[in-house]
Amino acid sequence: MTGINKSFSGNQVLKNAEIDIAEGEIHALMGENGAGKSTLMKILTGVYTRDSGEVLVNGTPVNYTHPKQAEEAGIVFIYQELNSVPDLTVRENLFLGKEIHGKFGILDKAAMDKKARQVLDRLGVSIPVDRTMSELSVGQQQMIEIAKALLVDAKVIIMDEPTAAMTLEETRVLFRVLRELKEKGVSTIYISHRMEEIFEICDRVTVLRDGQFIGTKKVSETDMDSLIKMMIGREIGERYPARHSKIGDTMLEVKDFTKKGVFQNVSFSVRAGEVLGVSGLIGAGRTEIMQSIFGYLPRDGGTLLIRGKEVSVHSPEQAISYGIGFITEDRKTEGLMLEKSIRENVSLTNLGRISDHSVIDKKKDMELARKAVQELTIRCSGPEESCDSLSGGNQQKVIFSKWIFTEPKILILDEPTRGVDVGAKKEIYNIINTLAEKGVAVIMVSSELSEILGMSDRVMVIHEGHMAGILNNRPETAAAGEKMASQENIMTLATGGKLK
C-alpha cells in the first residue's frame, strides 16, 4: 500500500500512508490512538474506500469494495471492535456468510461442527459450539473472532488488537498459532499497544503518526524507546510512573460476595490511596464481581462495608451516592453513548454539578466538557464531537473524565487501558496515581500483567470465581518470607495452581 489518503468529512486521517508486507512475516503496525491504523487496514480490505493511493497484492493493483472480496483473495480481518452476532451460536458465528451447505442452501451442520471443533481445539478453546455468543465473555468472543479467521484459507491475516482483552495465558496460545501460520507462509499484520508483544512475536514494524508513514524497521534492529519515539515524537521515560501515595484507612470491604455459578465467597478490602490490582484468566469472573460491588449485578449473598460501615448497594445510583465510580470494560456497549457528544457523555454522571434544581446550567455543562478535553488531552475537534468518531484511547479518556469529575472515593477500573496507546496509557497511569495520592481507593482489573505489576500495591488473583490469593507488590512493606507478586506467582494462582 502506498500513498494512501483518506478523509472523513473534511478531516484527513491518512496522509500518504504506506505499508508493505512480505510473505510469511509478522508485521506490526504501530501508532498512537487515532493514528489511522484501523482505517488503513479497513481500506486494504474494502470496508472503506480510499481517496487516493495504490494497493498492490502480489504486484497487481486491487480495489476491493467489500470485505468479502478481500476475504476471497485470502485477506481476512479480525476487527478491533468485536463483530459477532450475539443471538447466534458459536457455530453459527464461525460460519456466518460461509456456511457449509448442500443444495438449495440446506445447511450441513455435522460438517460445520467438525470443522469448528478442529479450529477451536487448535486455539485451545473449550467452548461448546452451540453456546449462544452473548453468553461468552469479551475475551472468549475475541477467541471466536480469531477462530473465524483461521477457518478461511488466508494468506494475510490482519489482527487489530486481538490481545486487548486477553491475559498472558491466552496470548501465549495465540502466539503459538501465529508462529504455526508463519511456518506455512501466512503473513500477519499485527496491531497492538502492548509493547512487549511486538518484541516477542513480530519481524518488522511500521509506524504511523497522525496518518503519516514514519518508517518501517526490523524489530531486531530497534528497541522500545526508539519505537515509542517514532510513534509519539518524543520520549516518555519510564512506562510506569513512580508512585508516592500514602496508604490510609480501609475504605471498602467486600465480605463473602457470592453469585451462584459465577463467583463464591469473595472477600477483600481496599484502603485509601491504595491500588489493588485484580488479575485472572479470561472468564474468571472479575468483571462480574466488580459489577456486583457497583450494584449493577444482583448478588446472592455477601455484605459491603464502606469505611467500616455496612451499606446497602443494589443499584449503580446507590453506589455512586457512596462515592463509588466504575469504569467499565466494554466502551462500546457499557461505557459510552456512542452517537452522543463528548459533552453529553461527560455530564451524564455529573448532572448534579451542572444543574440547579434539576435545571441544566448550559455554561457549567460546557465548562465541564472543556475541562475534560483539556485536562485529559482528549484529541477531538471540540466537546461537541460525537464519541463514535473518536479513537479508542480518546474514548477511554472520555469515560475517565466522566468519572473523575464525580470525585469518587472508591474507583473501580475494569481494563482501564484496553486498546490505549503507550503515550495515553502513561497519562492514564498518571491520573490513577494522582487519584491515589488524593486518597482514592482504586481497584484495577487488568489482563495486562506488566500493568498489574507496574501499578498495584497489592494483587488479587481470581480463579474460576474464587479468590486464589492476594499478593503483596510493595517490596518495602514485605514481611519476611511473604509471597510477592510476580509474573510466575500470578500465573500459577490464575491457572489454579498453589504457590510453593
Binding site: 449503580p316 445510583e317 467499565t328 456497549t333 461505557g335 452517537e339 451524564l348 448532572l351 434539576s358 441544566i360
Partner: protein, 316 residues
Amino acid sequence: MNTKTLSRPRIGDILQNLGAMIALIVLFVAFSIISADFRSMNNILSLLKQASTNGLIAFGMTGVILTGGIDLSVGSLLALTTVVGALMIHAGTAPVIAMLCVLLLGVVLGALNGILITKGRLQPFIATLITMTVYRGLTYIFSNGMPISGLGSDPLLSGVGRGTMMSIPVPVWIMVVLFALYFFILNKTTFGRKVYATGSNEKAAQLAGVNTHKTKVILYTISGFLASAAGLILLSRLGSAQPTIGVGYETDAIAAVALGGTSMMGGRGKIYGTLIGVLIIAVLNNGLNIMNVSSYYQDVVKGIVILLAVLSDRKR
C-alpha cells in the same frame, strides 16, 4: 474553529427537520393560494384547535419514543378516562373533581404501562398493545357500549374545549403551554438528559447511575396524562363521552413524531420536530377537507406527503 464546531450540531438540528419544515411551509402556502377559505384567520385558529388533541398525544409519544419505546394505548386510555369522567359527572360529582379524576386516571393508567414495561420486562409494543385492548374493553364495559351525554354546562368543562382567551381557542393555549413545558423538561433539565441517555444506550446509562426504569415509568405516565388531557378537550368539544373514540389516534401521533425526525430506535429526536409533524397533519386534514378531496384520495395524498417528508429527512 471552536465556534464552528459548536454551531455545527445546531445547524444539523435544523437541517434534520428541514424536510418536514419545508413540507409544512409548502403545504401551507399552496393551500393558502388555492383557497381563500383556508387562509382565513378563523380557519387557521380552528386548524390549530383541531391540532391540539393530536398535539398533546404526540408530545407524550415523543418522550416515550425517545427511549426506544412506543405507546399504542393512548387512544383507548383517552376513551376510558373520559368515559369514567362522564360517568362520574352523571353520578353527581362536581365537574371540576371529575376532570381532575380523568387526569389522575390518565396518570395511573400511563404508569401501569410503564410498570409493565420495566418491572414486567415486557416489550413496549406488546405491553401497550395489551393495555390498548384491555382499556378499550373496560371502556365498553363501563359505558355499556353507549355514548354518555348530558354533562351539563359547567363553565370550566365547556371552556376547556370550546372557550377562547384573547380570541384564541383554549385548546390552542393548552397545547402551546404544554409544548413549552415539555420542551423545557426534555431540553433543559437533568431529567431530559436521562431520557436521551436511556434511549441512546440504556446499559451505559444504568452504569452511569441513571435509574432508567424510573425514567421510563415517568415518560409513560406523562404520555397517559397528556392523552387524558386531550380526552378532556374532546369531552368538552363533543359535550359527551364516546366509548369508540380514540381508535387510531396512536397512528396519527406516531406519524407526527416520525415526521418530526425522531428516531423510533430512541435517543435521537426533538419535540419541536413533533410540533411540526402535528401541524403538517392538521394542515393536510383541514386543507384537503376544505378543497373537497375525496376521503379515499386523502389517505393516499397524506401517505405520500408523509413519505416525501420523511424521505427527505432520512439520515446516513
